[in-house]
């Protein structure tokens, strides 16, 4: 048998292995899952575009008869109180512009500073020799197992003693410098960097700090950016800590603001169009990240899932 024939035989087998279960079932299943995944978001946007007065009449329509942007305008504080009330709001002051800025500051500063601080530590754990290294790393890994609320309570008490509750500094403090997961993830990556480059630099007299800053960091731009992205998303979603430590008008994050908005709206007839407009604001940046950086996110999963 010629090599070509062997190859085509193998390909035929592979094709039969891959396609036999009925490609149709596979496509239907995956397609249905994607539709089910996306539908609630579609419904959120649809509702945000519906005038409050037509919510009941349009309840089962896939597109509002009279789409409007008024709901976005009133949650962004672009309308007067009277207009907001007329459009179905409670008239309570809501300023999602400020909350969005707060969330951007919170998520952005933690993502950048935490990742760099953890990258430095991860490099030390992966590439430098110092006494107690493995014990220290094990202790840090143990931090992964502790449910957040256990340290959240004393951290709350601590910030209270320091007078840092309801300040941006206090809000970012616990996460700003440290995340056991980030150290773990980046250490894995630094371990996989080739040794030769390090050795060459060592021979040229480049010290450990120089090797981290001038060699390891530039070579790890990809994983570090990925880690920043994952942290950014995680901090954007954060709720419990900003709820207890930063629920004041000046430090309120978007997530907390949404939940406050929900609680202010009457239980009997919630302001669904306003709530969905607010929810859309909290989803929009994530959607942009997914559109532009979805590939990186999926590949970072491949990394953590494949290892």
């Amino acid at each position: 048998m010629s090599a070509g024939a062997v190859v085509s035989k193998t390909q035929a087998i592979r094709r039969s292995v891959r396609m036999r279960p009925g490609a149709t079932i596979a496509w239907v299943l995956v397609g249905a899952t994607i539709i089910a995944t996306l539908f609630p978001f579609y419904w959120m946007i649809r509702t945000a575009l519906t005038p409050a007065g037509e919510l009941v009449a349009d309840a089962s329509l896939l597109w509002p008869t009279d789409p409007t942007l008024i709901n976005f305008q009133r949650v962004l504080g672009l309308t007067s109180v009277e207009e907001a009330v007329a459009a179905g709001g409670s008239g309570a002051s809501i300023d999602f512009v400020r909350y969005t800025i707060n969330s951007v500051i919170y998520a952005g500063s933690v993502a950048i500073i935490q990742t760099l601080s953890c990258a430095a530590a991860a490099y030390a754990f992966a590439r430098l020799r110092f006494p107690g290294r493995d014990v220290l790393f094990a202790v840090i890994l143990a931090g992964l197992m502790i449910p957040g609320i256990f340290t959240l309570l004393p951290n709350f008490a601590l910030l209270r003693e320091w007078g840092l509750l309801n300040t941006m500094v206090g809000l970012v403090a616990p996460a700003l410098l440290m995340s056991p997961f980030t150290i773990f993830f980046l250490r894995q990556f630094f371990l996989s960097l080739p040794q030769d480059v390090d050795e060459a630099a060592m021979i040229d007299g480049v010290g450990p700090l120089g090797r981290f800053w001038r060699i390891a960091l530039p070579m790890s731009r990809g994983p570090i950016a990925t880690m920043m992205l994952i942290t950014l998303v995680g901090m954007w979603k954060d709720y419990l800590w900003p709820l207890v430590a930063g629920n004041s008008e000046f430090t309120r994050l978007l997530t907390v603001a949404l939940s406050v908005f929900q609680q202010q709206s009457p239980n009997t007839s919630p302001d669904w169009t306003g709530l969905m407009a607010g929810a859309t604001l909290s989803v929009a940046p994530v959607l942009l990240i997914l559109i532009f950086l979805g590939r990186q996110l999926v590949q970072s999963l491949n990394f953590s899932g494949g290892k």
């Binding site: 995956v30 609630p40 004393p154 700003l176 709720y239 969905m276 959607l287 997914l290 999963l301």
Partner: protein, 316 residues
């Protein structure tokens, strides 16, 4: 990496006779590492000491005190723990959380395995797969609001659909439906992420194994159970542990969806700790329940890792 450096220095030894000059050279290279390591570690270690280690010690101490944030913590020994034993809400909350965790994990894992197995056989573009990640990226607060609206008792889209096929009472605030709805939301938001993790694990399984199996006449189903499942065990174990820890910490969905006095059917353990700490200001008692949660999660993780023999891969 320690061993690598040692190997290299040994190679140097054999290549040329060690001279005092060499030794001095090496120690000149080696010595600054300790201090450099310290410099690199300091930011993260400060964060770790102040916001992880110190609060852990303090949390253990609080659990043995009566502390309402305004007083000085006063030592009460094991009182909080004995009060916990007699507190029916602790056990009710643990039961609700456990039921939620089991339902959530079993449903997510089974659906995710099926989904990943199908994706393994398809050539999906990365961006199509990335769509599955959307719910995982979105704040739970937004997710809770969206689903509360979809299951709104009066004009919710799903409520209307269900009632048109005769299911009337499956609404967000219905006591019998509530826990199921929380499970449904968690399954929906965790499915894509879990499936993609398992899919990544499946990509590591060599294709030849499937080809050999197919030549031997094994069916698709038995290929899945005999090859895929055993070979992705380490990923499976990892995902199980992560979902277990995550499931026991369910909070946002309940607190946002059901407000500050949720119906009893959804009062999960995280909510109860939060309520004790920030509604009743019982910091000591809340810390004691949090310690119980740490112990439970530690034990469950340990058992799970043992059962799954997670540290051993058949592929290695």
């Amino acid at each position: 990496m320690t061993s690598m450096t040692q190997v290299d220095s040994r190679r140097e030894h054999t290549a040329t006779e060690p001279t005092p000059e060499d030794a001095a050279n090496r120690s000149r290279l080696r010595r600054p590492e300790k201090w450099a390591a310290l410099v690199l570690l300091i930011p993260a270690l400060v964060g770790f000491a102040v916001f992880y280690v110190f609060p852990t010690i303090r949390g253990v101490y609080y659990s043995m005190t009566d502390f309402n944030l305004l007083n000085q913590p006063s030592f009460v020994g094991a009182d909080n723990f004995s009060a916990m034993v007699d507190d029916p809400q602790v056990w009710a909350s643990l039961r609700i959380t456990a039921v939620f965790a089991i339902l959530n994990i079993v449903i997510v894992m089974s659906l995710a395995l099926v989904l990943a197995a199908f994706m393994q056989r398809m050539r999906l573009r990365t961006w199509v797969r990335s769509l599955l990640l959307l719910p995982w990226l979105v704040p739970n607060v937004a997710i809770a609001l969206i689903w509360a609206w979809l299951f709104d008792a009066n004009v919710g889209f799903f409520t209307n659909m269900l009632s048109s096929i005769g299911i009337k009472a499956f609404t967000f605030y219905n006591a019998d439906a509530a826990l199921w709805i929380i499970v449904l939301i968690s399954v929906w938001s965790g499915l894509g992420y879990t499936a993609l993790l398992l899919y990544a694990g499946m990509l590591q399984v060599p294709t030849e194994l499937y080809e050999a199996g197919a030549l031997d006449g094994a069916s698709e189903v038995s290929l899945f159970f005999r090859i895929t499942l055993p070979l992705i065990r380490p990923v499976l174990a990892l995902v199980l542990v992560v979902s277990l820890i995550g499931s026991f910490q369910v909070f946002d969905l309940v607190q946002v969806g059901y407000g500050n006095n949720p119906i009893p059917e959804v009062r999960v353990i995280y909510y109860y700790i939060y309520q004790q700490a920030f509604s009743f200001y019982q910091m000591g008692y809340a810390s004691a329940i949090a310690i119980l949660l740490v112990v439970i999660l530690g034990a469950l993780t340990f058992v799970q890792m043992r059962l799954m023999r997670a540290n051993r891969s058949d592929l290695a």
